[in-house]
Amino acid sequence: MSLQEALSLIKFPKEEKGHNCRIVIIDTGINPDLPVEDALNLTTEGIEDRENHGSIIHGLIHSILPEAKIYFIKVPDPLPDYKLITALNEALKWEPHAINLSFSLDMPSDGSDPASLYADHVSKKASVVIAAGNSGPRYMTVGSPAAGKEVIAVGGYLSKGYIWKKTSRGPTLDGRWKPNILAPTGINFMGERQYGTSISAPFATVLAALLMRECKSPFITRRIMELTAFPVSLKYAKKRGKKKTAKQFRRLIEAIQIISDPRNITGAGLIQVEDAILYLRYFLSLFSHS
């Protein structure tokens, strides 16, 4: 699908340009043609993107919110956990509304590993949005740091109501459902069809930044994103000519015992930007004295 189709799927208001939003991207390097307010390099090479990953995330966020202030932290890929903790800590100096992290791991966690715990700590001050991972359809593959209790783990959603099959699944080791929400993937962008939960995360980051700009509470932001998400049914894009084998059915029956909750696949559902903003304004009006 095109970027415009993806934005209409999540009901993104056309007039919203992200004025006064501050977003930090932690990724593999910037797109030199696009603006950044400030940048930090935690690698030994230049700040430009050689992996063709960070520049796509940068491009997506800039295309959706052209007036948002974007800050960038370049990190290596693979990213060691101690460096991620440094990056998250450094990100706070810009007082961001949202932090986009399109890095994850399929090792399950209960949220008490250092990276998840630190992401939770940062989530008290900014919305931390993390790609759920691309290790589905196996269960218990949402790992650190997406397994954190306060972070927003984002799964992938294809057009026409289909879940992206490779989206990592919950539950976490301590039994919490994950991912939190879904956002579009499989986007035609920069001349290629871009798949992965890395591509989904920027859509959720944009919404988190818009909500945080108004309410300044990462907890309220996460809850409103979940509450206003559109429920998604459990269906996958079928591969033509392939029928389910007995082995696949047996795996499915075995998996039911582990998951038992469809939110471990779909989370709360597909994000709905307009609904979330309206809900937040209504919620805030309940507590205003004017």
Binding site: P78, F103, S104, M107, L117, N134, D174, Y195, S198
Partner: protein
């Protein structure tokens, strides 16, 4: 799906959450059914985190610290990959 708390020390596997107990379905904090899934595969690491102190060190040193203090738990060090 390897377990982040399954620590190999002196040829035996220990539960990083319950040192000095050896890793087994009976003592697994996540239950025996989950243990079957997460103990199948393992990723060996040189360094582990001593939590909640946020210190990273060799398994041998970390194990001794954890053995002496029941509030401390050990987690494997890990690296994250871009999700595309």
């Amino acid at each position: 799906m390897p377990c982040p708390f399954r620590i190999k020390y002196n040829g035996n596997y220990y539960c990083g959450k319950r040192i000095p107990l050896e890793c087994s379905p009976e003592i697994c904090p996540f239950g025996p059914e989950t243990w079957i899934e997460i103990a199948k595969k393992d990723r060996n690491v040189q360094k582990v985190w001593v939590m909640p102190k946020y210190e990273i060190m060799d398994v041998d040193d970390a194990f001794e610290i954890a053995k002496a203090n029941p509030k401390i738990y050990l987690v494997k060090s890990m690296s994250f990959k871009s999700q595309r």
